[in-house]
Symmetry: C2
Subunit: 250 residues, 2 copies
């Protein structure tokens, strides 16, 4: 691109702005994630590329789609980057927040997360959800779905999967016409392998340490659990979610 502006100062206002979280935009690092976002319909507002990145990756479609493209130096890439060896490709994209009413499909299979804190868990759950063919992911509170570590852990699944963030999980669950299953550690809840998910379902998973809120529990018709022979043992949140999603799909 001719006449591309070169940014060589780490204090450049475009760089400072890109690093700020806003309610309208998010920053993506890495060529593959930026290309994934573009392919999933996210609009790039700004693109920051080192000369090396422009040589190494096929950045033309991203450059054409972006409202503004900047060339950056290696030190600026290091400032923008969350990883030790940044690829030198960054994009500021417009957030999307699908409306909950367009989200639900009849007989669909969904997972809903209440206040999942760890970006690795959120990303890991999204990755599994997409691999197992779920229809969407509903997120309420906790880690932002555009958190850089969550996006990386998801291998881009958070951008490809239908994802909706809501403020009021019980209201969203009551609106949808699907049966809702609260995942709980109670031994008297229904073992997940006894559930019949043929009509579709929403499986609702709570915070890593505190589980589901009373309000979310009350919005679910069923309580399900993963039976564990070891009494003192527990499963990691992403692993528990994976087993529940696997049962939902089989």
């Amino acid at each position: 691109m001719s006449g591309m502006i070169l940014i060589s100062s780490r204090d450049n206002p475009h760089i400072k702005a890109a690093l700020k979280d806003t309610s309208e935009t998010f920053l993506l690092e890495g060529f593959r994630l930026c290309a994934d976002a573009l392919a999933s319909g996210y609009a790039p507002e700004k693109l920051f590329l080192t000369a090396q990145a422009r040589e190494r990756y096929p950045t033309a479609p991203l450059e054409q789609a972006a409202a503004q493209v900047f060339e950056i130096t290696q030190p600026v890439a290091q400032k923008l980057g969350d990883t030790q060896n940044p690829q030198g490709a960054f994009g500021v994209f417009l957030r999307q927040n699908g409306k909950a009413q367009d989200f639900w499909k009849p007989s669909g299979n969904y997972i809903a997360l209440e206040k999942i804190q760890d970006p690795g868990n959120l990303g890991g759950i999204a990755r599994t959800a997409q691999a197992l063919g779920l229809d969407g992911l509903l997120v309420c509170g906790g880690c932002d779905v555009y958190h850089p570590k969550a996006l990386r852990a998801s291998m881009g699944a958070l951008l490809r999967l239908p994802v909706t963030q809501v403020d009021n999980l019980p209201a969203a669950l009551r609106e949808c016409a699907l049966p809702c299953y609260a995942a709980v550690p109670d031994r008297d809840a229904t073992p997940v392998f006894q559930c019949d998910f043929a009509q579709g379902a929403v499986i609702v998973i709570g915070n890593e340490a505190h589980g589901l809120s009373e309000e979310a529990l009350n919005a679910c018709k069923h309580k399900i659990t993963i039976p564990m022979p070891g009494s003192a043992e527990s499963l990691n949140a992403a692993v528990a979610a994976a087993i529940l999603m696997w049962e939902l799909r089989h």
Copy 2:
């Protein structure tokens, strides 16, 4: 303990020795993990405790079992510690390597790992294996089962579960009388939900990037896979292992 030796130098030879990996011993950090190791039959060679840790935790059983007990200062704890805020409790324990022939139980359920590299994956798989009630974990190559990050990710399961490390995985699989199932990404392998594991089984999982070696594949009678609707998608190794172990147990 009266007459306990105080170590206040980060260069003390006991500290340097504790930080060295040996084929006979391993270093554990944290009171809970040390207590887990003792309860699982591991013998503490040396114990390193800050005065604060001795006040905060019930360390008496560990101190009685240890061949040597040292009091350490906070800077020494920081040197020994792998975490940002060390609890001030460390133990050097004798490694155990159960013999493969004592390991297998008739109709038992096992998982075997070939060259799993990531400590978080190894620990996560052990945690899930114990929670789901597997009979043991066979490890060949890759991450050491006494790697501090693996032990932490396992929440102590690597110390509580029967674990055997072997150099020759195909030989170990041929020796055991159980049917062996190689986990592969091939679409023509048997979907895991079609397998009948009633006679017990060993599920064999390969390296995160390269999968199973030819030799390991040849030592397995069956090839199984986790069907995924999304063609370009993949599961994290710990999640794939969790789904396979869940099917093995249900």
